[in-house]
Amino acid sequence: MRSRRGLLLFLCRNGNWFVKYQTVQKCFHNHHHLLSSTTPKPCFPSSTNTTTLFNHRSYSTSGAAEMNPQISNDLIKIMENRLSAIEQRNNYLQNFMSQPEASPSEYSRANKELRKIRSSMELITQLRAKQKEIDGLKSLIAECPEDKDMHDMAVEEMDEAIEEENRIHNLLLKSLLPKDDADERDCILEVRAGTGGEEASLFAMEIFRMYERYSHKQGWKFEVVDVMESDLKGFKEASGAISGSGAFGRLKFESGTHRVQRVPLTEKAGRVHTSAVTVAILPQADEVDVQLRNEDLKIDTYRSGGSGGQHANTTNSAVRMTHIPTGLTVAIQDERSQHMNKAKALKVICAKLYELERSRLHTSRSKLRSEQIGSGDRSGRIRTYNFPQGRVTDHRVGITHHSIDDVMQGENLDVFIDGLLLKQEMDAIASFGSDE
């Protein structure tokens, strides 16, 4: 928190959460005051159609490590319902798995589901223990009003326990919010020069390098995949593979049109130009592995329609295999037995399906790309890099950072990324409260 130069404010307007970023220079005292304030100060002005989800909140760009926001009673109630549902499900599954009648596939399905809720269950167990402790302390306090030392001690312990309960509630809330399965994946970065010719290409290169530096700072691996250079050694197009924990999750909001305003190197008259580059962040698929189900395969032999079996003697062991869902067919006859022709047919079908799956992923990737970047017009603009004013503004969260050089060095991108992630979380919390 201290190392950051700004403060995020959360505003709720018409049911939507907005995050405002203010630089510290302007509101340092305010900032300090908020953090140390003893009287909870609402950061979220509640509007008529949204309940206040947090009673007080002091979020910083580095996350809410120091202080846990107090979750409102409404939200706790909603959460409690979910928690007991999870507990019930957990019991049911545990029970189910200890029964001998469970078939292997049911067993593994149950096991999978259990694994999914395990981390929530661990937190719930902790929470229940804390709640029991709090109950115990409560009755202790009620029982001994005359023993002052004892009473004070119990109150102190209870405060601690309540703070701890609150901490667990916060963790649980986080764990219950919907997660994007792709967040943990590695990703592909694609940068393309848009309107603005050579200047756009030069900026595309700078943006590409910015992400490269940022990735290194995060401890991720950055590999340049492909670069198409422009005449002045800018990048018309470039792509890189970024691998490291949570790469896609942190970078996914970078997709969109990035606008640059500055005097291009090529501009003699010294006028400021506006150009644009588009960025796409695509999750990398895990190694596609083809799963063949027996019931999806049909196998024929080329028999002359006779009765087969003991009736006939044949040296023809050709096999035709069809993958019913895709209609793929292979015929193999060069092996010496039906069994071996079948084994080979299976291999060939597998390889073909693998190819099919890869090209399908490829197409869905290009579809994703066009969805992310939009049509490339002004409406898709997510961020402006204004060199004359030395600032970078993210239009989605309304955050402006005043040291453009730091940003281009990959230094302070976190200011935007954290803000965007928090906004996502806020959106999720807002809908978490509303879907009940």
């Binding site: 032999t301 087969g308 079996g309 003991q310 009736h311 003697n313 044949t314 037995s337 069994h339 071996m340």
Partner: protein, 239 residues
Amino acid sequence: MEELYALWKQRIEERRPFQYIVGCEHWRDLVLSVQEGVLIPRPETELIVDMANEVILKDKEMKQGVWVDLGTGSGALAIGIGRLLGNEGRVIATDLSPIAASVAAFNVQRYNLQDVVEIRTGSWFEPLDEFKGKIVGLVSNPPYIPSGDITGLQAEVVRHEPKLALDGGANGLDDLLNICKGAASFLKAGGFFIFETNGAKQSKFLVDFLNIQMEGSFQYVNSVSDFAGIQRFVTGFRK
């Protein structure tokens, strides 16, 4: 050259099966010795090993128990299944024909399975007294051709393969019914069986026979088709 010509003549004029000429047959991933007096194993029969493998993979007890192949011929099924069991279980294979028994024993040796597969000479269950109620898996491809159809079989088959391996009596079911009855007393509870049949008619008959005539002995009785779509097998479990 002369010799080659003689073989060729045998193939064309006498319709001697190619596998008898070369002395072996490729079956699954095996190469099995065959000679006159022993049925050449058929591609349809390969599937029995796949079905056995399915139950063996699912259940450790199946892998560790005693399997039986009745009328083993070249030993194809016994060897195929023996290789699935590793060193944990064992296979006892029987055949009434001494030639078949000796060819089967030879093939077992070739695959170095003499500790896993044991060949016994005798009629169906007769040499298996000590395994009554102890067998976990029973497979058989007994003779199932109706006697009246024998002369109409493909020349290679009718002229060269042993009648003992083909002729199943008036409706082809003599041996299959015999084996079904034996299965009830020789399989242990939960034991699995697969029999090869002449097709839909025999399979249907056997499914009904096992379910109705032998009511209470078996469960999950099913017919299974071969790759040509013919209902070739009957499978099920001892209750």
